[in-house]
Symmetry: none
Subunit: 135 residues, 4 copies
């Protein structure tokens, strides 16, 4: 399963679920017409309250990412991919922007902000790309 809940994250669980579904559609892991996991199944897998999953799904329906097919489940809508990519881009942009704003507000100059950014990026890349993996 492509979903994971981060208890340390301050964003609500239902938001984490909805966001990850959007990102999965944006990245192609979920394609138009695909069935997403049932509320009960996902709730069991993630060990969260079914109401929480249901709320995430409700928001995804409201955003037009999925649609209900009675008796079948929730399907990824045909036009959803492009919208999800836009949403993903915007969400990331906002997050990066606000982190930068906080940094500059705190009195660091752009060079220091950049150094901070590079240090963190290097740290994180070691998790995604083991040294020597990609020549």
């Amino acid at each position: 399963m492509f979903l994971h809940i981060d208890a340390a994250d301050s964003t609500p669980v239902y938001d984490q679920i909805a966001r990850q579904v959007v990102f999965a559609v944006a990245g192609g892991a979920l394609a138009a017409g695909d069935l997403i996991p049932s509320v009960r199944e996902l709730a069991r897998e993630l060990a969260v309250n079914p109401n929480t999953v249901a709320r995430a799904y409700r928001e995804l329906q409201a955003q037009g990412v999925v649609e209900s097919s009675p008796g079948v489940g929730l399907l990824v809508r045909s036009g959803a991919k492009r919208a999800c990519q836009r949403a993903r881009r915007e969400a990331l942009r906002q997050r990066v922007s606000s982190a930068l704003r906080a940094t500059l507000d705190a009195g660091l100059d752009p060079d220091e902000a950049e150094a901070l950014f590079r240090a963190e990026l290097d740290k994180l890349c070691h998790r995604y790309q083991r040294p020597g993996e990609s020549a």
Copy 2:
């Protein structure tokens, strides 16, 4: 006054106040022994409830940033500067790190993350440094 409340910010008002005091101490705007603004005065200036300011100040006391001098006010503690600088650095580091993690989790590769970062940094710098100002 060095404090401003951002109503759009989802972080609680009392947290914004406490954080900005910590940053002011880290940056030297407030030095050891300085009296910070009184609860009532700051509440009036920021147009918030005195209890909200009091809560921010209570947390600053708990963190050891300020200490109460009964009948006088709250004073910046002598050893606070270094701790505040550490706290500021760590807060910024965490924020940048989590923004980057979200970016990479979403499937962007490091180059795309960097491009995103640069674009936002350039946007923000125009607020801090008018074009052509510094060669």
Copy 3:
């Protein structure tokens, strides 16, 4: 319920609540994973304002004794017991130490301090152990 408020005690109500929860964890009356009484419930039982209980609980969270499970309640954290025992021991030690220091500062010699201590201990033990109960 294991909690009681002593109105005659000059220590704040929220402190009495927090301390008693710490002591309950230290003594095993509350175990890791246990749900502590809800803010509203405890406020009703003790006949104090919910905000007062909330403040006690906030401090317990800050101390790492309990953690919030959104929509569920406050749970005793897994590692809390040992820390609570340490905190309890230290609190008692400080109190005894300061009473003794005051006694010696006042000019009583150690033997007089000891006599005073024994007299009070005997007085108090009669509340905990009826005369003749234990040889």
Copy 4:
């Protein structure tokens, strides 16, 4: 001067002053008819607000420990010594008693309370009586 202010002590400064005068009378450091330091002089020595000293002296007058001699100052009253000794005894008794009560309330049994007491007494005696000093 026999007075010292402990900033770490949570009891108010004026209380510390008044108490120490009472203890000085009880111990004979101040005798009936002695003049206690003037408000201004003591305030300067202790580096506290004159109002604070004045308040301490007001309480001492109310308790009948000192009396005003217009144009001269405040004198220790003739009958004060015995009352001060009683007050000192009672203050210490209460403090020891409340420390013991807290200890027993916390679940320690009398033997543990005694062990705690002895440990602290030994610690403190090393400050008052250097090893080998009194055989």
